[in-house]
Symmetry: C3
Subunit: 269 residues, 3 copies
């Protein structure tokens, strides 16, 4: 009855870090399947990791979900494990990387501080908690240990919340922000499907996009190929957020936009 | 009796795309092994994906073989699944990415159009068919569903063929093309072992290679270390095609060659 | 009773090379778990591969451990398999890539030359021994074959040793070398925990680091966050070697240091 473990990190692919964590988990929980979500999260990009984790979880079988994006490794930031909806267990540093995924699952129902977890591995180093703490804890939980055995009880309301930008919606325009840039240069904005209902943003509309010095008029389309190569579009992306892209090119590069940058959308006249 | 799934894509490693598809397949077909071939195919590089798929299949156990390189996602291009020799099932967009692998297996014997597949996942988005269509279809087929259950029957002869360059063979020279560049900068030419028989190209011969403004004389050698560091060579590569390389360097960079570029080979005088 | 296989290489992620080896192993040893350590070792970087392998093994369940970093593929360098402590089997080219891991396990107790292994796969190519030799041999050994069946007996003392730099320790200073650079730009020096005992290098000390034209004073700290962003530190890394880093930046880039470069450490006055 071993549970599946999903694993996401900013460890990258050139080092052995993610591989060693996989090896630790396979050794402790030989019956668990390990599914790598990605290890290409930008270094220390807590928000990007948080969004990718939240995007992935609805598609994965409920199990143990490990996310390590941990600029404060070894400092006072707490390592945690929490139980949320669907009996999913989330494991990682308490710096917000788990927060959106937990919130989408109805919030943490139970949480533990792993700082002195009996499941941590000795010798315990100050710089590689993925290997020495998070991987062994995840594996023990996947192999059947109870959450309360993994650490000290923690009030779920004390868990760190992730600060995210919020759009400003006016009658004649929407001021949104770049929430996330994917590897193709497509830009997810901080506008979810529910936000759009009260705005002029409807499929089929032409929209004026202003970002820094750039002004470009694009349709609210369905998919990339609805516009010609090199042309821009707004579309509802695969997680139902509004996104800005250029067919066969990188909107991030062409429009020189990064996460948190402001983008003003108004009806094209 | 779940079958193995191999998975190749141009999703890259910085996003969650490949990982989410893996999660979907693991959820639907828990008994199937998933083998990542690579997710580093160049973005929208249909031909490269097609070649890598064809190169890989002979080495993998027959099963379900998923390939997603899909510049036309959401457009009118058909998503398909087909059955070829060895009872292998190939799944992907009908843009040629499956064609060389299917041809090497004797061609498609049966095919279905997945556009309205009952196996697709809701909500079905216009931009992430890997997650919403190809992964669930692959998993259902791996878990035992019949191909005809996955979509509408399609005449195999209607499947898209991949256009590839063809060499021109003359008595005194061969005009070939770069078919593919690997990550080390080695260049596979469009000359297979069978093409060589009628030419002067024999192991041990010295060959004059002309490519754009570059002229270089190289041996038809057996392996890289048959020449000194920084020296060029022609050799039969791991799929039995003629390839051009530089020992410990990148032939693509040094000779400034890209896929489709012409390379003229003649006997060195 | 199939054993786990760990797999490390310099094949990178843009080609099908690692994936095809995985496919070969899964076909031959369907009951074996395959754990990718990394395929991002620098091209032909034998020492880096050797260090990553040695770092990883203590964390992996004993099994078959495949490492392919093979600049001499197809040449006279021997392909080998060896048995070391904990009944671990190491497989790869005999160019030193297996040496530190084998030494840490008490040395090879038994070794075979795989040049004419009956487990190699036909057609056998001169340039892709990972697929044609190392992967099938690893899989057969994982599936239960005896080491002596895999090749010709070889005197373990004839195996290639890896040359590594050695620090020079003086009363008032230590001249060390960069052994390895990780993907974050952190620099592991050739100073292990045991070397430090006879020196002034103690946690809490301020240390003057001289590297080429650069001079920087840093603390011997516990972890990155013990210093401010952009500040340097020495610390005991996750394998207990002394390492040089910059919090939230790349020490390799800032100090322009590469493997083998000399670094002089002395007490800050």
């Amino acid at each position: 009855v071993s549970r599946t473990i999903t694993f996401l990190s900013d460890y990258g692919y050139s080092d052995e870090f993610a591989g060693v964590c996989r090896a630790v988990m396979a050794r402790i929980a030989p019956g668990s399947r390990i599914i790598d979500i990605t290890h290409g999260v930008g270094r220390h990009a807590v928000r990007q990791g948080a969004i990718l984790l939240a995007n992935s979880l609805p598609h994965a079988e409920p199990g143990v979900h490990l996310a390590v994006v941990d600029p404060g490794v070894g400092s006072e930031r707490r390592p945690v494990a929490l139980r949320a909806g669907e009996d999913r267990i989330l494991v990682g540093p308490d710096n917000g990387v788990l927060a959106p995924a937990a919130a989408a699952l109805g919030g943490a129902r139970e949480a533990v501080d792993l700082s002195t977890s009996p499941f941590r591995q000795e010798p315990f180093t100050a710089t590689f908690h993925g290997r020495d703490l998070f991987a062994p804890v995840s594996a023990r939980l996947a192999a059947g240990a109870a959450l309360r055995e993994a650490g000290e009880p923690l009030d779920p309301s004390a868990l760190t919340v992730l600060e995210l930008p919020r759009p400003r919606i006016y009658p004649d325009r929407v001021v949104a922000h770049v929430l996330y840039r994917d590897g193709f240069g497509n830009l997810t904005l901080d506008l979810e499907q529910a936000d759009l209902a009260s705005t002029f943003l409807r499929p089929g509309r032409q929209v004026l996009v202003e970002a820094g010095r750039n002004r470009v008029e694009v349709p609210f389309a369905r998919t990339f190929t609805d516009v010609g190569e090199g042309r821009g579009l707004l579309y509802e992306d695969s997680v139902r957020s509004l996104a800005l892209a250029i067919n066969r090119d990188s909107a991030a590069d062409v429009l020189q936009l990064e996460p948190d940058d402001e983008v003003t959308l108004s009806p094209a006249s």
